[in-house]
Structures are given as structure tokens and as C-alpha cells.
Symmetry: C2
Amino acid sequence: VTGPVGSTVDGARRAYIALSCLVEPGNRDLGIAVTQDGPVRTLDRLLAGRLPGRLLAAAAPRLRAEHPLRIADAASAEADRLGARLVTPLDKEWPAQLADLVRISFETDRRIDRDTFPPLCLWVRGSWPLADVLQRSVAVVGARAATEYGDHVATELAYGLAERGWTVVSGGAYGIDAAAHRGALAANGTTVAVLACGVDRPYPAGNTNLFERIAETGLLISEWPPGAEPHRHRFLIRNRVIAALTRGTVIVEAAARSGATATLRRATQLRRAAMAVPGPVTSAMSVGTHEWLRRDDTRLVTGWQHVLEEVGAIGTDLAPVPRGPEHAHDRLDAGSAQVLEAVPLRRVASPDDIAANAGLAVPDALRALGVLLAGGYVVQRHGGYTLAPAGPPTRIAPAGERHEAKRSDDTAPG
Amino acid sequence: VTGPVGSTVDGARRAYIALSCLVEPGNRDLGIAVTQDGPVRTLDRLLAGRLPGRLLAAAAPRLRAEHPLRIADAASAEADRLGARLVTPLDKEWPAQLADLVRISFETDRRIDRDTFPPLCLWVRGSWPLADVLQRSVAVVGARAATEYGDHVATELAYGLAERGWTVVSGGAYGIDAAAHRGALAANGTTVAVLACGVDRPYPAGNTNLFERIAETGLLISEWPPGAEPHRHRFLIRNRVIAALTRGTVIVEAAARSGATATLRRATQLRRAAMAVPGPVTSAMSVGTHEWLRRDDTRLVTGWQHVLEEVGAIGTDLAPVPRGPEHAHDRLDAGSAQVLEAVPLRRVASPDDIAANAGLAVPDALRALGVLLAGGYVVQRHGGYTLAPAGPPTRIAPAGERHEAKRSDDTAPG
């Protein structure tokens, strides 16, 4: 592999991966180039030295050592080795909502918000398709130095959301983040940790057991390749992904002028629901949340019910986030689509339950399930049915096959 | 006194007093009549039986026993006996802002908000002119079953406001109300308790010492004559006065669907600042405050600084509440008016201090002070100057003279 990058889907996918390895995530110059020219032409321009000088300088060290396609292939091999997978905007499981970051990147002040462009590639550990897991998700974030009160509230909030089928997204940090992940896990729900370092060695090490549990039932995500250190500025860059992936962000505790509110600011810019849990005005850990609650765009929430009022109000309540012009359901007859709606995601249901939920007789539901099974919309597990993973196995690369095997062990949450 | 009520100022004043003794405060039928015809014609119509039947029925028992002017004179005598005074809309110290209650009485749903018309007369215990004391005032109210947290926050809030020259108004109840009064007293500030019973026997009796301290340095106010019991419905009627007298209302703690938020609702209707202090979401005593903070019209405040941001923003920051078309200042030359602005209310200042505050040379300030003294705008105390009480002694009735004597003892708060 020494020639030009090529224009096949595979070439474009490798270009995304290579670009993501060459330059720090969110980079404005690269983001503009990719938005205008796509990954393949951008990589060609990079190789030809026809991009802003500081971008060329940033990419130069790695580029001198290796051809971009080799970098991409090495990354894929590394992902395999780690039991992870690489997901790019070309993959079916890519969360389309990340594209909203392009808009705010052009709208916000470039001197303050330099690195707000969407990720070009995500490193993912965990079995379930990214887009499906994040379809109904809420970010619960806050201070590392949380109080007992904050820990309690974050846990309860996440438990309630997870119990109702919502994915709880957080940053894996000590304090509120960890409490949110734990609350979701306690409810046998799904939780996603978006890291500011490689998925091989999630930070902080003190949360290692927690990260393992998240990887088993939910997802560990990072924009950075394995080995990347959790530098301070990476947390701020990472926060835009937490805000963009979810329908809304809740901060539970935050000190004055703290980084814990950065995700909330992004959520506001992205026109996602911005929410905050109040606390005692005597607590330093609630000064930041109260500052935000004094703004008109932040809603006070005291529990999961309030959160659902906010995130359910975006679009048609719990409608799935649109993922593109063509939706799988569009190709189905009304009866099959009705049954498909009744098949649970990440949980196995019996034909009887599905029929009841769809409001159909069991024979009619079984007939529809046959259609859905044949079309690859649903899969059978232990005599029941569950939604098929979003991407075909060939797309999720070798790691995906391992996950496919894992899924048949029925480690599905909930 | 058996003839018609007459049309002198004294007659009108006595009519206000009589009407206030005959019918429960806030009464809609009476309020409409007085708004349209004034107190004298309304009393004439009452005596002639030309008012709505239920209003006649309400007034009948007392009217059968005594002529209205006798009732008024008996009330004045009773006030004297108790060391109180009667203040009507015709008296200079009447707080003009109460007239805003007329507007909301016509705007609000009459089935829910029957009794929202302004008081016709206030029973007042305490030395200072009502309008002056309430010119810069904030209501701090909340739950009787307050937590330690709520008590602490209410005390701090009131202390901070009082220390900065703001009068703290509350309802004299246990819990948040008492904490607010105490905080203001601790700062040597001014506090006003608006009662739902007679000023002779303020309720609850457990706060008797507190009420005595309030009467000494601030004001005890009631719409009800001495002997009136604190019936439950009277608290709700009373709340409109707390909201109307002040530039804004802060609730510190309130249970779900509690009466403690009723004052806040009135403040909103009156377009006063509506504020609430958050608390732990785990506290039942903050459920009501959080409910209100989820509304767009209630501002979260965590301390007096936030409160001043809200109430200072009404009109030109700390501009006095207009009291009528003609203002005392209007008759002064620019220099004297400038010096008058520099003379403190309820505190004595030296000519040097006044000159410095007015930005004038001491001789110029002294010349202006001579004019102001001659015009009755300021009075001399202990070699310094303070603003003259709003109403001339003859207006404040016998009790007023006693207070005048008291004032020369210089018991003025901080």
C-alpha cells in the first residue's frame, strides 16, 4: 500500500481511521477539510501538503514514519487485539447525531471553541451497536469531588433512567460520573463511558472494575487510539461527544467555574436539553449547578421523571433519532413494522409478549416475526426474539464477530 | 353621629376604617364598590342597602349594633389604647404599591381568587412610616416545618438584605418566617411582620418575644382589627399583602402543594420578582420550591446578592416606589433636592457626611439643610439630620404622637 488512498468504501473508511490517528480529535482545520471534501480527498490533500500549515505540522511526525493506509490497518489490528472495534461515519452503527457538532463548530467562537468538530472514528469496546444503544440516551455528569448527596442523587437518577430503558452516558470519572454508571448497572440497564484516553487502559485506574462491568454490558468509547494518555485538554474535547451523543445532559454537582459544566454548555449549543439538579446553597459542590440554573436555558430536575419530560419532548417523544434517508422499517408492510416495534432491543421477548405488545393475535405476530427474521430485522435467542444488531457482521470487523459470539451467550442487559 | 358619613377627608378616612371593620379584608364586592365610588359613597350605599346582597349580609350584624362612624371612632380609640395606629389610603404613609392588587383582582379568576382587593385600612404597631419602611423591601417566606437548612438560609438571607438597608417582610410564623425576622433583627435592620390576626395578640404566641422586638424596631401590620383570630383562610388573604408591599418574594422552603408558595404566586401575578432558594432534592421541604423553580417566572437565588439583582432591576434600581402624582421633592430647588437625597432614612447623619454624600461643600449643604428643615423635609437629632417622618403628627393620630416621642429617644435601627 503505497499508492493513492482510493475511493472505495473501504478506502474511505481507512481514510477516516488514518485521519483520526494523525491529528487530535475535534481539530478545526481537519474538520473543515473533511466536511468540504470527505476523508479520501482530505487525506490526499494532506499527503500532498495542500492543507493549512499547522495541520500539516501536526500530522507530519506520524506521516513521515508510515503510510496512512498502514496506520489504518495497524489501528484495526490493534482494535482486534484489544477486543475493540473501530466505528466510522461510514458504518451503520455510527451515531448520526454527532453530525450536529459540525453546525456548532461553524457557529461558535473559533478562538474559544477550536476543537468541536465531530470525531472521525470511535474506538468501541462492548457488544451492542453504538447507534442503537445511544438512540435513547441521557448524559449524567458532574464533579469528581462529589458529596455524598451528589453521589446519592446521581445513582438514583441513573437507576431510574436505566430502569426505563434509557442509556446513561457519562465520562467514567470519580464522583458523579462513577455514581451514574453504577446506578445504571444496578438497574441492569445500559451505560456508556466516553473516555478521554485509550480504551485499552481506561482512566482513572481506580475505576477499572467499573470499566470492565461497563464493557461487559454497555460500551466503552474513545476518540483516542489505545495508549493515549488522559491529558487535561482531552477531557474538554471529549465532553462535546457526551453532549452530542445524548438527547440531554444533566449535571448533578459542579463547583463554581468548574469543568463539570462544560458538557452542559455544549448541550445548550447543540440544542439538546440542558438540565441540572439543585442542591443545598450551602454546598460548594452545588455552586456551579445553581449558576447554570439561573440561566433560562437550563431546566431544574429533581429526578428521572423530570429528565424524561425534557428529553422525551424532543421531536416525537421517544421517536428514534433519524439515521439517514432510508430506514429499515420503511421497507416493511404495516403488520410487520407493527410487530418490529414490539420487539425489544437488548432483551429477549417471547412471541406471546410480542403479540400482546403489538396488539395482535399470536399467529399473526408469529407470521410477522418470520418475515422479520428472514429479513434480518430480528434474531432468535432462547426461544424468544430480540432486535438484530444494527450493522452486519462484516461491517463490525473481526471484533464484531467476537461480539456476535458473545451475544449468543445472552449476556444482554435487562 | 347619626347623619350621613360626609365628604371631608376625615369623613373619608373614617369610612375606610368603618368599612374595613365591617367586612373581611380583600372582599371582592366591597373592593369593586370602593374602587368605583370611593369609601364615602360606598358606605352610604351600604347603609342604604344598595350593594350586593351577600355583602350587605356580611356587614349586617355589626351595622345593626352600631353606626359606622362610631365603629371607626371606636377603632381609633382601640388603636390608641394598644399603642397602635390606623393607616388608610388617605394617609401619607399608606404604601401606594398596594393599589396593584386592584389590577390583579380584575385580571385573576374570580372563582379562585375572590378576596384579592387591597386592604382599606391597616393596623400598625411600630414607629416608622409604613411607606418609607416598605420602600425598599423584600418578602422572605416559607414553610413552618422548616429544616435546619432552611432556617439557616433564611436567616443568612434576611441578615444580608437588612444589613444593606432592605426591609425584610414576612408573616411571623414559625420556621422560615421567624428565621427571616430574626436574621433582619440580628443585622440591626428593619423587619415587618404582616399578621393574619389582630396586632394586639400576634399569632403564634410562641413568637411573642419576637413580635415585641419587631414592634420596637420595625412594624407589626394587620388588616384585621384587634381580637381577630388567625383563621386558616385569613393567612391566604394576608399573603397578597406581603406580596404587594414588597418588590419581590423569596421562598426558602416549601412542601409540595403547600400554602407557602401562595405568596410567590401573588408576587408573580403582581409582576413582582418571584424567587426561590433551592435545597437538596432529597428534602420534602424543598419539593415546593423546586416545583416553582421549574417555572420560567421564578428565579433561583442562593443569597442576598442574587435577590438584590432581581429587586434592584425593577424600575431605576433603588428608585423610591412612586407614592402619587405630587412628590415632596418636586417642590424643591435642585441643590436642596440633592441634599435631601443624601439625608438618611431612619439614621442620623452629620452635616459633613451629608455634604460628602451629596458631593457639595459643607456650607452649601448646611444652607440646603436649613431649607429642608424649614420645609419639614428633615428633622434634627443629636446634632445631625434624618428624614422627617412621612405623615404630619396630626395624621398619625394619638398613637403617632407617642411614636414621635419615641423617635426622639433615637431608637432608630442601624
